[in-house]
């Protein structure tokens, strides 16, 4: 029984490696590996399971698209440029305050959308300009943006790794807010201060020249109203749960997007921005859909059970000590697929050991994004390199990521080990 499942797993791995070596994208490689698994498992090409798998993360995909549309509309309306120019004008002499505000600006897009790439695309380019005019080298600036973009993706309210794993173990996505928020903010600040401490006050005149102009009629009210509306919808649902219907995050983001569109001082092409949003998110939506299919076929053929049993029966100390390697590498190979494939058995293991599954999963969620800099995918790492207009080799970016990455891994593992003592963060 085990041998046949191991053979199916081997077929899937070999199919993935062969297809990937033919320069096929990671998403399609996962899809083809799933098909190969189905064939090897004697179930042929199971259409019903492919459809079932494609539906697994539809709700998360909707959040993803609507949130990114909101952020893109804000960017196109000149809101992001206005905020960055405003902050720079006011705090260009005060490095510490500027660093804190830059961190917040980098954290918001990823936290709302769950995607580090959105942070890189929405605010990364402009922040890179600011950091450059503080005398911080481009590889260092890129490393700052990459690490904080990764943490922003893990930050609440939308943390895909936590959401996917929680869904896999039938655990409600509740109680994650503080266990994710506290380390993400602390580690982001630590990263920017470690890598940017040699930065000088910004050369305001030069930086302003390079940053995109904000429309004349743009102001703070136009920027804050959509966020306040979004916040109101989130909070109102919790304050009056019996009076208000559950409208869901996608609809909340659509409301915020429509308000941003209506308040924009410049005329926006809604259709074009929406099209660009879907195109920009294609690799990410594709990953989620293909991962759903892959996991479904793995479940159908017993491969998922094999992985789960193997992990659960490993020595616990070895599992915890190797988290810092296993999680980033699995992210590099499977991207978010790592969460349902490896995250689920790990959380089940931690739960049976008496650890707090929420805090432990939050600890794992902050380690996973580090894998986005590693080959074969390295989508966000390379995207950051391009956005920061870095001409040096990619290895330079990786070099500057090492210290923050080690700290993040240590914090993540400590969160897993001491999850029981940190359970108060869940507020449950």
């Amino acid at each position: 029984m085990f041998t046949s499942t191991q053979i199916i797993l081997a077929v899937m791995v070999v199919a993935y490696i062969i297809v990937k070596s033919l320069k096929v994208s990671t998403e399609l490689s996962m899809f083809l590996a799933a098909l190969a698994g189905g064939l090897a498992g004697g179930v042929g090409i199971p259409a019903r399971h492919i459809v079932e798998g494609a539906f697994t993360y539809l709700d998360i995909i909707l959040i993803f698209i609507t949130a990114t549309l909101f952020m893109n509309l804000l960017k196109e309306s000149g809101g992001i440029a206005y905020v960055i120019r405003g902050i720079l004008r006011k705090f260009h002499r005060r490095k510490s305050i500027l660093f804190v505000l830059i961190t917040i600006l980098l954290l918001i897009p990823g936290a709302l959308t769950g995607a580090g790439s959105v942070t890189v695309l929405i605010t990364g380019g402009m922040i890179a300009v600011v950091l450059e005019y503080m005398g911080i080298s481009k590889p260092k600036a890129a490393a700052i943006i990459f690490i904080i973009a990764g943490l922003s993706a893990a930050a609440p309210p939308v943390s895909l790794w936590a959401m996917l794993t929680a869904a896999g173990v039938n655990m409600p996505y509740v109680g994650f807010f503080l266990p994710l928020l506290v380390p993400c903010i602390a580690l982001s600040l630590l990263t920017i201060f470690i890598l940017g401490w040699r930065g000088k006050p910004v050369n305001l005149e030069k930086a302003m020249k390079e940053l995109p102009e904000a429309p004349h009629r743009m102001n703070w009210i136009r920027i804050f109203i959509p966020f306040l509306a979004f916040l109101f919808l989130v909070v109102a649902g919790r304050i009056w749960p019996h009076s208000l219907p559950v409208i869901g995050l996608p609809l909340m983001f659509i409301v915020a997007a429509v308000i941003t569109f209506s308040l924009s001082p410049v005329k926006l092409n809604f259709l074009q921005i929406s099209r660009n949003t879907v195109h920009q998110l294609l690799p990410l939506i594709g990953t989620l859909t293909c991962v759903g299919i892959l996991v479904q076929i793995m479940t159908l053929t017993g491969v998922r059970g094999l992985i789960a049993i193997t992990i659960v029966t490993l020595p616990v100390t070895a599992v915890i000590l190797t988290l810092s390697l296993v999680l980033p590498i699995s992210e590099a190979v499977l991207m978010w697929g790592a969460a349902p494939v490896l995250g689920v058995p790990l959380v089940l293991l931690f739960n049976t050991m008496g650890l707090n599954p929420i805090v432990a999963l939050a600890g794992m969620s902050i380690i996973w994004p580090l894998g986005d800099a590693l080959p074969p995918t390295a989508i966000i790492g390379r995207l950051t390199k391009d956005t920061a207009r870095m001409e040096e080799p990619y290895s330079q970016l990786l070099k500057y990521c090492i210290i923050p990455a080690v700290i993040i891994m240590a914090v993540g593992i400590l969160m897993v080990v001491f999850s029981k003592k940190l359970a108060f963060l869940t507020l449950l």
Binding site: V24, S25, E27, L28, F31, I50, V51, A54, F55, L58, I61, L62, I65, T66, P245, V246, I247, G248, P250, L251, I254, S274, R275, T277, V278, H279, L282, P283, I285, G286, T289, C290, I293
Partner: protein, 49 residues
């Protein structure tokens, strides 16, 4: 009921965007991916799943 209808509208809008991008795309890998991600949106719209 209203919320359900709104979600169908959002789903239809995204499905249209995917089809539009699929038509405009010139890379086979992108086209294949657009078809795969279109499956859940279309089936949900057709109320088949």
């Amino acid at each position: 009921m209203i919320i359900t209808i709104l979600y169908y509208i959002i789903t239809a809008f995204i499905a249209l965007l995917i089809i539009w991008n699929f038509i405009k795309s010139k890379k086979w890998q992108e086209e294949a991916l657009y078809i795969i991600i279109l499956i859940p949106f279309l089936l949900r719209l057709l109320r088949l799943k």
